[in-house]
């Protein structure tokens, strides 16, 4: 599989990023470590969803991309419970791409990720701008794509 770089992401791109069956056993195992004695298992599953999404994205495309982590996460919204036994899908939308001014070998890609349930209802959205490495050949003499640097 080709290694994905910053240049491979274009605003407006939408991609499905795999699906995962959320089992009671995995929610209980996560809760035992980080969320002991939750009142409701579906709320625990929602709190677990950032980690689930991270794993799904790693398996789907981050694992073969020049991924360099993210300085943070703009926002996470938990919109609906995630029920044990439910199969959820991850979806990515590229919102914007921006070259780093200080590091010519790095660019930021702003994504909206969604987890959706079997009835296509979003259960969680997450907006984040991770860093990806740039292709060396594409950088020579190029100006940054966007005006501002956060």
């Amino acid at each position: 599989m080709p290694r994905l770089h910053w240049e491979d992401f274009t605003p407006g791109q939408i991609a499905e990023c795999g699906s995962r069956l959320i089992t009671r056993a995995e929610i209980i195992a996560f809760a035992a470590e980080y969320d002991p004695q939750p009142m409701h298992l579906d709320e625990a599953a929602a709190r677990h969803s950032c980690c689930i999404l991270m794993r799904m994205l790693s398996d789907d495309f981050i694992g073969h991309a020049s991924f360099m982590g993210a300085p943070g996460v703009e926002e996470v919204n938990w919109l609906a419970p995630i029920r044990p036994g439910e199969r959820i899908k991850a979806r990515a939308t590229v919102l914007e791409t921006r070259a780093s001014r200080s590091r010519p070998d790095v660019g930021f890609v702003k994504f909206r990720f969604e987890l959706v349930n079997a009835t296509d209802q979003p259960v969680m959205t997450l907006i984040v701008s991770p860093m990806f490495g740039r292709r060396a050949s594409d950088r020579e003499g190029e100006e940054p794509k966007a005006a501002s640097e956060r």
């Binding site: 002991p36 991924f67 982590g69 996470v76």
Partner: protein
């Protein structure tokens, strides 16, 4: 948990600390965030982080565990004093999460929360919404993580019945 009416903006709670071991960092990353710089010392040395460091989600999950344990200790104290304990409701989410510095093997992170907003809910008079800024600081006094989360907290008295 305190009741919504008893929570004031500016209240700060030290909720606990955690030391991250290499074993701990790799076990979390293997399950949820399998990036080379969270899994392998040699690969981490060649990454932008320079050394093995914890997944940012790991740093955040430890915050959640410490917060739950903190609330439980506080509630046990309230029950022992014969005081009523408020229920915590669901959280709509969080925002402005910043991973300010890497958390390396052996780092001890101290976590705190500060109430930044309290808001009654007209749609749900039995509950109020609070927003808190959550922070983690390492043993050198450097902030490593910060974010603002919101959660529903039970009211002592529904708004309609308040004087």
């Amino acid at each position: 948990m305190k009741f919504f009416e008893d929570i004031g903006v500016g209240e700060i709670s030290d909720i606990g600390r955690h030391t991250f071991t290499a074993e701990d960092i790799k076990a979390f990353a293997t399950r949820f965030d399998p990036q080379p710089f969270h899994l392998d010392e040699a690969l981490a040395a060649r990454s932008q982080f320079g050394r093995l460091c914890a997944s940012g989600w790991h740093t955040a999950c430890v915050w959640m565990r410490l917060l739950i344990d903190f609330h439980r200790r506080e509630d046990e104290g309230r029950r022992a004093r014969g005081e009523a304990v408020a229920q915590l409701g669901p959280s709509p989410g969080f925002r402005d999460l910043k991973w300010l510095k890497p958390v390396y093997v052996g780092d001890t992170i101290s976590y705190a929360t500060e109430v930044v907003e309290t808001r009654p809910l007209s749609s749900r008079p039995d509950w109020g919404m609070i927003s808190v800024r959550n922070t983690g600081v390492n043993q050198h006094g450097e902030p490593v993580m910060s974010f603002i989360s919101s959660v529903l907290v039970e009211c002592r008295e529904p708004e309609a019945r308040r004087p």
